[in-house]
């Protein structure tokens, strides 16, 4: 601990001061007690701009301990800028163990994906949230949206989904797809693809949501009902993909499109990099990977 202690000398453990942590911790406890309800909190300025996950970082900093193993993902990937920098941030200010393996992590901070691997008891998923209010684009006034939540008046949201159907013949919302938590609060699951919505339902893991600029924290406890809004004649459906992952051959996972050249070449690969690497390590092989191997020979 001696080298670690000297590196930490200029910051409190996990960057935030203790009073800030207490304030965030109290907000987290109330958020858990009222699933899906957005608890206002005194969001602090963080050493990164709004939009880079300041809400998620504050939540992680408030719950993180020296025993934790942290994983950070950005659109499913461990190796993109946002994920790398937040991981490095917590290594520096908390000297915490980090991993890219979903299974090994106790806290997973995420930007816009839920890992493919089923989360387990004892894991906490921390979402970075840009706009926590699902009704915000329908009603700009906070006083009004708050009243709508208070009165459980969510007709407007169904009108929005209905207008989708009227215009496009189907519900065209593909990300930040609104959910109802435990039959009470309508909640924005953050801009995760709707593909991930079913994973929130009855999850084993605790899910915490932090919105730094908008100063809100909300939560979904484990084993809690999370239902995507829909209509009887237009039931909720997740995206499906024509082809499996080009690298690991996985089906029923969320895929990213990667443009390969300027002649229309493209491939679809797992958005969850850990899931893809793990499958390849276990011998699974997609069509593009086989091609790559042959080309290498």
């Amino acid at each position: 601990m001696t080298t670690a202690a000297s590196e930490l000398a200029t910051y409190n453990f996990a960057y935030l001061d203790e009073q800030t942590k207490r304030m965030i911790r109290r907000a987290i406890l109330k958020a858990i007690a009222i699933p899906g309800y957005q608890v206002p909190f005194a969001s602090r300025e963080m050493p990164m701009p709004y939009g880079w996950g300041t809400g998620g970082v504050q939540v992680t900093a408030a719950i993180l301990g020296p025993e934790d193993v942290l994983k950070v993902i950005d659109q499913g990937a461990d190796d993109t800028t946002n994920a790398v920098s937040i991981r490095a941030f917590f290594q520096k200010v908390a000297n915490v163990a980090v991993t890219t393996r979903t299974r090994a992590a106790t806290i997973i901070q995420t930007r816009h994906r839920i890992p493919e691997e089923k989360l387990t008891t004892g894991q906490t998923l921390v979402y970075q949230v840009p706009i926590p209010e699902p009704l915000r684009f329908l009603e700009p006034r906070e006083t009004e949206t708050r009243k709508m939540h208070a009165l459980e008046e969510y007709g407007l949201m169904h009108v929005k989904l209905y207008e989708d159907i009227a215009r496009n013949g189907h519900i065209a919302t593909t990300y930040a797809y609104p959910v109802k938590v435990e039959g009470r609060y309508v909640m924005d699951p953050s801009p995760t693809p709707k593909f991930d919505n079913p994973k929130m339902h009855m999850s084993e893991a605790l899910q915490l949501f932090g919105a730094g600029r908008e100063k809100r924290i909300y939560a979904v406890p484990p084993h809690t009902e999370v239902v995507s809004l829909d209509f009887e004649d237009h039931p909720f459906e997740v995206q499906s993909f024509d082809k499996p992952c080009g690298l690991c051959g996985a089906e029923n996972v969320y895929l990213d499109e990667v443009v390969l050249d300027d002649r229309g070449g493209r491939m679809f690969v797992c958005s969850d990099t850990d899931h893809c690497e793990d499958r390849r390590a276990h011998g699974h092989c997609g069509t593009m990977l086989a091609y790559g191997k042959e080309a290498a020979r």
Partner: protein, 201 residues
């Protein structure tokens, strides 16, 4: 020497102790019915127990007025809370963000504390109640968010009317108070979402 009770007894390592206590409370709040152990020791003035004292140091500060039972108010606890946490004691239950009830004391009606409003249900009190034990009492069946199927606990030392009190609190949802029960160094959380029933014989 009387003042020693006030000026000593906080966490030896405040940052890590508060984190560890908070994680236990968070995990228990997220999984009602799960009994957690408060690992970090605090020594609050008698008659408040060590675990309840640790929770106070972890969550209370100058932003959170604290309500204490008459017995705790007469003890050295108000001074201890002020010195170590910066938290002020209030006699108005409505103003309190946290309330502490020592073992054996009368638990006030939950409705007397801040319930939050329909717009801001988070502005409600959290009650920390010490009880005798988590075993040997009348079995209670818990259901609700955080509980797969159901959980059964048998806390001993709760008021006779507890199930009715908790039922009325649940009926107010999303308003209502949240409970942290403490017995020895173990805790059990009952957020307002938990439905509590007597187990049928």
């Amino acid at each position: 020497m009387p003042d020693a009770q006030i000026f000593s007894g906080a966490f030896a390592e405040p940052v890590f102790a508060a984190q560890s206590v908070f994680r236990t409370v968070m995990d228990c709040m997220a999984r009602p019915g799960t009994i957690g152990t408060i690992a970090a020791a605090a020594r609050p003035p008698q008659p408040l127990g060590a675990a309840a004292g640790a929770i106070a140091l972890t969550l209370c500060d100058h932003d959170t007025p604290v309500w204490l039972t008459p017995q705790l108010s007469k003890s050295k606890l108000p001074g201890w809370l002020a010195f170590h946490a910066g938290a002020a004691v209030t006699v108005e239950k409505q103003d309190a963000r946290f309330a502490f009830v020592e073992k054996g004391a009368v638990v006030p009606g939950f409705g007397l504390f801040a319930q939050g409003t329909q717009e801001y249900p988070d502005r409600s009190a959290t009650l920390v109640v010490e009880i005798e034990s988590f075993e040997g009492g009348r079995p209670l069946v818990l259901t609700g968010p955080g509980i797969r199927d159901e959980a059964v606990v048998a806390p001993q030392g709760l008021p006779e009317t507890f199930v009715a009190l908790a039922g009325a609190n649940r009926a107010m949802f999303p308003r209502g108070v949240d409970l942290i029960l403490v017995a020895g160094d173990r805790i059990l959380c009952l957020p307002r979402t938990t439905v509590i029933n007597n187990r049928e014989a």
